[in-house]
């Protein structure tokens, strides 16, 4: 049990990832699918941020008077912070592109339901064949 509490952020990240994944697969509404994708992204940020944490340490921002004799054990790991930054940028870009695709789909089919869109497309295909 003590292991569980020591690694609580990591467990939470994994469970959040699962919630996002099931939402991505099960939701019919396209916008809800994207919300699921964003939950997955967020869980990865949580995991990375947790990995960079060191107990009893502060953010890696040194004071000017410390220059020359900085102790790295006093600060958290800056590498995961840079990785999270990259992840956020990519997630924002992907979300924007997907949302604009959804706007276009909604203009074409007047629905956000993925099943209905597939149904309409199949019907169109059958009509084209005739």
């Amino acid at each position: 049990m003590s292991v569980f509490f020591a690694n609580l952020p990591e467990y939470a990240a994994m469970i959040l990832f699962g919630i996002g994944l099931s939402n991505l697969m099960l939701a019919k509404n396209l916008v809800k699918k994207i919300i699921g994708l964003n939950i997955m992204d967020t869980s990865v940020y949580l995991f990375l941020a947790a990995k960079g944490y060191v107990e009893n340490s502060v953010a890696p921002i040194v004071s000017a008077s410390d220059l020359g004799h900085i102790e790295h054990t006093l600060y958290t790991n800056p590498v995961p912070a840079g990785l999270v930054l990259t992840g956020i940028v990519v997630s924002v870009s992907v979300t924007a592109v997907l949302l604009s695709l959804i706007v276009r789909l909604n203009e074409e089919f007047h629905t956000l339901d993925i099943d209905e869109i597939i149904h309409i497309l199949r019907k169109r295909d059958r009509e084209d064949l005739k």
């Binding site: 020591a6 990591e10 060191v54 912070a81 924007a96 592109v97 706007v103």
Partner: protein
């Protein structure tokens, strides 16, 4: 098999897959080293170098900023380009055809949104200057305090959206045209690429007289990091604004 049965089977399979996936991941996490211990494998010489040598070499007191805008500057250039490319994709997907007149663009403005609310509009008018100033502060102090180009740019982008909703489309588009967007974003990206390419070309030691200027802790220090932060902030804020305006009405004014 009819459609309902197939849907139910799909839902059950998805749930089973998710449960199996979460179980495997939880099992893996249980085997990982405890969080927060100073002797974890990810607290290694890389982190040690970035924290102990980084502020002295780069002049940026914020080790994260020094890392992403000095040692890994090309990675950040790539991130800015990802934002730019995604903005271009949104343009391609949502742009109203070239022949559409300004009247069409105004007519389809806010098809999916409620119109102005007086309480919100007045609150935005109060908030706009403060939010702009906060965004600029975060950008300019990126090498000294938490923040930097990405967070500052996101705040400036939010301030632009607040301005748009407070003062209306007509007043905003007097200065926020597609021409401004194109020129400013391209210039910021080009300056970033040229400046950083030059320093890398000269063995990451170029611009010595410039990079070494200023005492760490002042705003004007840390060499190229401050200009690069401003470039990143410009790209991010312009991207956020352009994405909003494309989704809202399908184009800048003509």
């Amino acid at each position: 098999m009819n459609k309902e049965k197939r849907d139910r089977l799909y839902a059950v399979l998805c749930t089973v897959l998710t449960i199996v996936f979460i179980s495997v991941m939880l099992f893996t996490v249980e085997k990982m080293p405890d969080l927060g211990r100073a002797d974890n494998p990810d607290i290694n010489e890389v982190m040690e170098f970035y924290v102990e040598e980084g502020p002295e070499e780069t002049g940026a007191l914020n080790a994260v900023t020094g890392m992403i805008l000095h040692y890994r500057a090309f990675d950040t250039l790539g991130e800015s380009c990802v934002l730019f490319v995604s903005a271009v994709c949104v343009f391609i997907l949502l742009r109203i055809d070239g022949e559409a007149s300004n009247d069409t663009l105004v007519a389809i403005d806010r098809r999916y949104e409620p119109t102005d609310d007086p309480i919100l509009t007045q609150t935005f008018k109060l908030l706009v200057p403060a939010v702009f100033m906060f965004g600029i502060y975060i950008t300019m102090n990126g090498h000294l305090s938490p923040g930097g180009g990405f967070s500052g740019g996101a705040i400036i982008g939010a301030a632009l959206l607040l301005f748009l909703n407070a003062y209306g489309l007509e007043k905003t588009e007097r200065f926020m045209s597609s021409q401004l967007y194109r020129r400013v974003t391209t210039m910021a990206l080009c300056f970033y690429a040229v400046a950083k390419s030059y320093t890398f070309y000269t063995g990451a030691n170029g611009l010595d007289s410039f990079e070494g200027a200023g005492t760490p802790g002042n705003i004007l220090s840390a060499g190229l990091i401050l200009p690069l932060n401003i470039c990143v902030a410009v790209v991010v804020s312009m991207t956020i604004y352009s994405m909003y305006i494309m989704i809202r009405k399908g184009g800048f004014n003509k």
